[in-house]
Subunit: 125 residues, 2 copies
């Protein structure tokens, strides 16, 4: 296995099942989805497009302000698109881009891991 | 698809491929591996046990202090074990627990996603 350090120094770029060669990208990806609430927002949007208030209701504990902030970051990262449908009032709809939708495998695997290993906080389930 | 909100309210606990029912656990898992450097540390340890200095060398940019802090958190979460081998000086070795090792599927999937979608910062690869 090529370590992160070796990778950066040698610039090696090969494919492997371990795929640890791509350190800077992997590092960015894991911190991207791990940012507070980001994983939860993407997970809800994997179920289909949602309006702002639907997202707010679907994620217990998130505030209006934080949801706005995270959605802006996700738009900036091109993982989420914001679509405005005309009408009165206008409907603002959030949905995943192709890149966002392709996080499904990873988040599903993490969900299975969590089912198996994470204790349930506060008897919620 | 059952939303996060419904899940917490009804306490529903069923398995599905979407597995979005397990909100509190999933939420905890994603923020656990997304904490700054945590994903990177686990990724390196997926390649086998490592000494502290090997971890430090393998993760460009992490400081001594932060690596110590993250390893303590990971021990507390029971994802990493610390093993002391006698000798002079003693060897301190870090390795994944079963729970930690089972993160491989999820992190590999995230690595594949990153290969496909994340731009490479600073021409490192």
């Amino acid at each position: 296995m090529v370590s992160y350090g070796q990778n950066v120094i040698t610039g090696e770029h090969t494919m492997s099942t371990q795929s640890s060669q791509l350190c800077p990208r992997f590092h960015r990806a894991v911190e991207l989805i791990g940012r507070r609430w980001t994983g939860a927002i993407i997970r809800v949007l994997l179920g289909g497009p949602r309006r702002f208030n639907e997202l707010l209701a679907a994620i217990p504990g998130i505030s209006d302000r934080l949801l706005t902030e995270r959605l802006r970051e996700l738009e900036h990262e091109e993982l989420v698109m914001r679509r405005v449908e005309p009408g009165s009032p206008v409907k603002v709809i959030y949905e995943l881009t192709c890149a966002g939708a392709e996080l499904q495998d990873s988040l599903d695997a993490l969900g299975r891991w969590a089912e198996r290993w994470i204790g349930v906080p506060q008897e919620a389930v």
